[in-house]
């Protein structure tokens, strides 16, 4: 029974353990190394060519060729998030309790047990010692706050604390929160958004985006028209700028005209267009087909991807693809031959090289004229999660800086009379959450200063008086 009861807490204990954090850090690092060394997003046949059948099937089984999107990599990331949340659940209440405890009563005995503490005996009445201490601490550490003394009876000692940066212990939670925000933003982007591409020839308008995954097409709520695409070059021949002049068309009306260049995308209604590539597309081609049996020549005009009936027959021809440089031999079109009741055949036809292989079915094909247009390749993205990612990044930067370079510093002071000697005992103790060395130095400086001031409380005034005197005589 007790074993069952402890099971959830054991799981929470494991999930929130630092051991798991370290294991996950190293595992994610190792997995990422593998991901950069093995080629990613290549198919099983390609893997077989590279690594042989046995290694290829192992790589495929472990999804090492698509590692960053594999289930097990996602599980590692999910475990890291769970680890973060579990750690927060376990530690945050303790931290908050610690922060809230700043007004806990204390006495000189408690202070003397601190790692950093010191006692000074002064031959001053308690009120005078108190004012000396208050001004010294105020100078070095900031305002003091009086605390109700813990002692019930007898003389009530003076107890006070001075602290700065109480919030700094919370900053590490802000760093962890920022990691979660970034990951939630990334998930929101991948579930609610899309990534795709559109190739838009000059002068044409389209609202269709080819999605990167799933090879499907999505329609935008507005259309984009490409007015012009330009490439400029430096004297060295290196490309200087890729620029597309585009217009947004909404309900048949032009609502926006702008240029898109690399590093300066266009965002409209949450959808962003990036300059990604460019190329040449075919609008239509004039071809001449020759029937080798009769020697009859027929001229045809084929618009891109529109089937045209061969005159005198019921068969159709269509240009399905256009390549600017097919297998390094130049421009080519892919012709598709459609015959009723039969599967259509397809054949690549070289445009610049009229040779005997340029044939489809039994026709010899010659391309006589092509009408081409330059197109701009735009990457299209909708990412509703991006603001979360930016917010996470901002928080992460601030919070890492504050975690490393701010510190919760607290100074306790207790002043009480010593009944035996009749002296006044001043007890100091301090603690810093970070950069303890600097704090210790500051504490030591305060102690030395206090010792001097408490031993001859008028020293500083005398010096000051001396100085003014000197000034007066000059």
């Amino acid at each position: 029974m007790s074993k069952e009861k402890s099971a959830p807490s054991a799981v929470l204990g494991w999930l929130s353990s630092l051991k798991l954090t370290l294991v996950l850090f190293f595992a994610l690092a190792a997995a990422s190394v593998i991901g950069t060394l093995l080629p990613q997003e290549i198919s099983l046949p390609e893997l077989r060519d590279h690594f042989g059948p046995a290694a290829a099937s192992l790589i495929n089984l472990l999804a090492l060729n698509n590692l960053y999107h594999s289930m097990w990599f996602r599980i590692l990331l999910l475990l890291l998030c769970t680890n973060l949340v579990a750690c927060t659940i376990e530690r945050l209440p303790k931290t908050i309790r610690l922060i809230r405890r700043f007004q806990d009563p204390f006495d000189s005995q408690k202070l003397s047990r601190f790692g950093l503490s010191s006692s000074i005996a002064a031959a001053l009445p308690i009120e005078q010692a108190q004012s000396v201490v208050e001004s010294a601490v105020c100078e070095a550490f900031g305002r003091m706050c009086r605390i109700e003394s813990g002692r019930a009876g007898g003389l009530c000692p003076f107890c006070a604390v001075s602290e700065t940066g109480r919030w700094s212990t919370l900053m590490v939670y802000a760093v962890h929160l920022s990691v979660l925000i970034v990951l939630v933003g990334a998930m929101a982007g991948s579930f609610l958004g899309f990534k795709g591409a559109m190739n838009l020839p000059e002068g044409e308008t389209s609202d269709k985006v080819m999605l990167a995954e799933a090879e499907s097409v999505t329609e935008l709520p507005f259309a984009l028209r490409c007015d012009k695409f330009e490439v400029s070059f430096y004297d060295t021949g290196a490309p200087k700028e890729f620029k597309s002049d585009v217009a947004i068309i909404e309900n048949g009306r032009e609502v926006l005209k702008r240029s898109i260049v690399v590093n300066d995308p266009l965002t409209y209604e949450g959808i962003t267009f990036y300059q990604a590539s460019y190329g040449t597309s075919l609008k239509e081609a004039k071809i001449e087909i020759t029937d080798p049996d009769s020697g009859k020549k027929t001229a045809m005009t084929l618009p891109f991807r529109q089937p045209v009936t061969i005159p005198g027959t019921s068969d159709q021809l269509m240009i399905d693809e256009y390549e600017e440089n097919l297998m390094q031999v130049g421009q080519a079109i892919e012709l598709v031959y459609g015959k009723q009741g039969r599967q259509s055949s397809a054949q690549w036809i070289l445009i610049d090289r009229p040779y005997h292989g340029n044939r489809i079915e039994n026709y010899l094909v010659r391309v006589t004229q092509t009408d081409k247009a330059r197109f701009t390749g735009l990457q299209v993205k909708k990412d509703p999660g991006i603001w979360l990612v930016w917010a996470g990044f901002t928080l992460m930067t601030l919070a890492i800086g504050l975690t490393f370079y701010s510190s919760h510093r607290k100074l306790w002071v207790c002043i009480e009379p010593d009944k035996k000697s009749g002296k006044t005992i001043v007890t100091l103790a301090g603690r810093a959450s970070r950069n303890a060395q600097a704090f210790e130095e500051k504490f030591e400086a305060l102690r030395r200063g206090l010792e001097n001031r408490l031993k001859n409380p008028h020293a500083s005034h005398e010096i000051r008086g001396h100085k003014t005197d000197k000034k007066g005589t000059e």
């Binding site: 950069t36 290196a238 690399v262 300066d264 990036y274 991006i386 990612v389 990044f393 992460m396």
Partner: protein
């Protein structure tokens, strides 16, 4: 006076600086260490002038961009960043006996940039993908991180050496006694890792924001991105282990050495061995 003349001079001046620090440490002669500091600071000024002049020259050529755009320029900046971080660190902790390795790293970066046949030192125009204000923010933040890790790597090495040869009061000779104590070295190492981690994080973030406007995606598992993340994981592990698990000493020093190995691979390995979107950094 041209930038390439100033930067060539910088290479030899860093060698001089390294020799001064080394001699000062080996002979335990403090004036030599002070000379090392002066040489380092003077070289840094000269290098700053060289980088500034190169910037001006790129405008005269009509390209007009910050000298942070290719392997040569990034190596020069890396060397500059290592020296400035080391000098500020030296001034803060008032400890001069640690200068040998940072000065050596600065010299090696400059020497590699100047003498390697693979590295073109000509000022080249920016390709469209690099034309962005994020270039300066991204490269500077990344290299501040890398340089800080380089100095921390040097200190980790000294720490590991110091650990192998414990203090022997009878043995008066040897430079080891001249080094700060192990606990101090450990603390220095930690401080530099903190500084480096902050800048590496900002460097990854600025890179990510830039990638989003240039490539349309803030994270694409490009080898350079991935390796910077691997580096980030290693140093994150170091910080967690040291702060919460109380790992101190050798394990942290070794993690810092491994972390710097990742930095080197992110910088050189990815450029020369793996292909990806960052290919212009060759």
């Amino acid at each position: 006076m041209t930038s390439s003349f100033l930067l060539s001079l910088t290479t030899f001046a860093y060698l001089l600086c390294t020799v001064l620090y080394l001699a000062g440490t080996i002979f335990r002669f403090k004036p030599l260490l002070s000379a090392g500091t002066i040489a380092g600071a003077a070289t840094l000024l000269m290098q700053t002038a060289g980088i500034g002049l190169r910037w001006v020259e790129s405008y005269r050529m009509g390209y007009g961009h910050a000298p942070l755009s290719n392997m040569y320029e990034s190596l020069v900046f890396a060397s500059w960043a290592i020296m400035i971080i080391y000098l500020v660190f030296e001034w803060r902790v008032r400890q001069r006996a640690l200068g040998v390795l940072p000065a050596l790293f600065s010299f090696l970066a400059m020497a590699y940039a100047s003498f390697s046949k693979d590295i073109d030192s000509k000022i080249q125009p920016l390709v469209p993908a690099l034309k962005s204000n994020w270039l300066i923010a991204h490269v500077m933040t990344c290299f501040l991180g890398y340089a800080s890790f380089a100095v921390s790597f040097g200190i980790s090495l000294l720490y590991l050496i110091r650990k192998r040869f414990p203090e022997d009061p009878n043995q008066e000779s040897g430079f080891i006694v001249f080094l700060p104590g192990v606990s101090q070295l450990e603390w220095f190492n930690y401080q530099l890792v903190l500084f480096g981690f902050l800048w590496l994080s900002v460097g990854i973030i600025t890179g990510s924001v830039w990638a989003n406007s240039a490539w349309g995606t803030y994270w694409s598992w490009d080898p350079k991105e991935t390796w910077s993340l691997i580096t980030w994981f290693i140093y994150a592990a170091l910080l967690h282990a040291r702060n919460l698990k109380g790992w101190k000493g050798e394990r942290v020093a070794w993690l810092s050495v491994i972390g710097f190995g990742c930095v080197l691979f992110t910088y050189f390995g990815v450029n020369f061995l793996l292909s990806g979107l960052h290919s212009y950094a060759r």
